[in-house]
Subunit: 91 residues, 2 copies
């Protein structure tokens, strides 16, 4: 993992939209897919990228796979950013 994978992951607009959807709470892959015109496999790919980046977690419940945000990794991005804004010498 690492910050590289994370930042690459949020660099795609579809993936950010997925993250936005998950702000409201966990959703199945199918529910997520309904919000896009892209095919199932495409969404599945994006979910895999987000999962590998640690931005989301998945849990299989019977026939469905539920996805939800993993806040931990957002903190990592946050600290990368604040290394710039927080350490601003003109602050």
């Amino acid at each position: 993992m690492g910050i590289q994978q994370t930042l690459k992951a949020i660099g795609d607009p579809t993936r950010r939209e997925i993250l936005d959807l998950l702000k409201a709470g966990e959703k199945t892959a199918g529910e997520i897919g309904e919000h896009f015109k892209a095919t199932g496999p495409t969404i599945s790919h994006h979910l895999a990228v987000l999962r590998n980046a640690g931005l989301i977690m998945d849990e299989k419940k019977g026939k469905y796979i539920f996805y939800e945000l993993n806040m931990t990794v957002f903190e990592e991005i946050l600290s990368w950013i604040t290394a710039f804004t927080g350490g601003d010498k003109d602050e």
Copy 2:
């Protein structure tokens, strides 16, 4: 511009390293280039991407072009992130 360009820009490790260099203060394109094994044109390309994303600003002084961080856009990323972390319902 917009968040898309910004997040795409910080998704590249060379560009993040450039941003890190500029934390110490403004530098010329040449000074920045010295820190990398990549060629001048490659660094110039990365600088252009960062500039188009609004992450850095350039100022021409005679023969040199100085680059420096533009904090404003970092704030924009920050607010995108905190829309997730700040709004955490388990907080």
